[in-house]
């Protein structure tokens, strides 16, 4: 999330950095690897 042309990191004074803290959190997509599906795909391809 950023405004266009805003590519340079913003430098703040040490006092500001000490006082304020903002961090963007990453999207939390909990995934199931479906690991069993991978060998299945291989089997499917062999058997095809």
């Amino acid at each position: 999330m950023k405004i266009e042309n805003e590519k340079t990191p913003v430098e703040y004074s040490a006092k500001m950095q000490e006082l304020f803290y903002v961090e963007e959190l990453e999207d939390r997509f909990e995934m199931a690897t479906a690991a069993a599906i991978v060998p299945n795909l291989a089997c499917w391809e062999i058997n095809f």
Binding site: K2, F20, R28, T33, A36
Partner: protein, 406 residues
Amino acid sequence: MDYTPELEDDVFISQIENEPYSFVHQANYDVRLRVNAQTHYLLQLIDGEKTISELTTLVNNHFNQNISKQEIDRFIKNTLEPSGILKTSREIIKKERAPYLNLRMTLIPHSIVSKITRYFQFLFFDQLWYVIGTLLVALGVMYASTISFHDISHFLTPAHILSYFPLALGSCIAHELGHASACEKFGMRAGSIGFGFYIFIPVFYADVSNAWSLSSRKRVIIDIAGMYFQLLISCILVIIYSISANEWMLYASLVNIISFLPNLNPFVRYDGYWILSDLLGMNNIIQKAEKSFKQTLAWFLDKMNGEFPIKTTTDKFLLSYFLVNKIMVVVLLLTFVVFNGHSVSYFPYRFWNFLSALIMKPQVLSFNFLKTFIIDNLVSILFYILLFNFIKKILTRKKSGTILEQ
């Protein structure tokens, strides 16, 4: 020039349970921030009536500081506005959600997830950890007493593995419903459930981004909820085996347990990653590890001038994490190629033959000709589409520097 900043209409701010931080969610841009108490205080002051001068005075008086008006102004314009939480006339680019998930598609929208998860919320109670421990021990004893290694090799043949395919699909959906149910149980809206590709591996996913506003203990429960549901499925299969003596049920329950073990890998964004993140109380581990590596690389390329950037235990952890993470990604990539090695490596040659045939003998072009080529090379085509997307993302990745981190 003095002006009056104003919060966007759909900004939701709440204190994170048991943490000195607050959670800020902007629904329109779907952006989530973690801010400290001071930033929370400033956000509460921003009401569309107070000017920058007034805000500066109030902040300085409250925290006994002498921050300049220009710095508060820059903080608002360069950090808060780009996050989408303040009204602005500037154009804000909506970020891509979960860019690490390729070819993402929604299978169950939020409205249906919300209805289904109501029926499963009772499975989360105070003694959850004891129940999980007891079930694991019971299953372990059951497998140890009924299955030998010889039996496993007999049952894990390609034909048998293929018969577990519908179970694996159902189990993955149940896994995601587990995450979503736990999230809703704790009063947070779960997003959709869907399917996509993560580092070339097919995965199901549940969007539980709102869980960031919960305590780390509750987040860990959400993290393990997927495996918990799979564990319950295995128990049901064992019970059916006990009643029917159908051995397929017993092996299916074992395959189901084995299939969720890779989820504990903390070096890629599987359950293990979120568990590690929540137990350590450290968010965005992968990005921070990448930053730590870049700083080390810059120091190294600068002929080791200046101070070595890796000073604290956290820095050492992040750098080690980055290196292992990259090795894991390469291993997963190679796994994909190994499982489909022949078709993937020979695809360019077959594609060239296909194009040559089209150019030299255009009369061969028919629906069946195209269909045969696509079906024969489905996995390879998928692989190269994902590889193309992966490289494109790396090349077009933009630098972000608008967030103020400690």
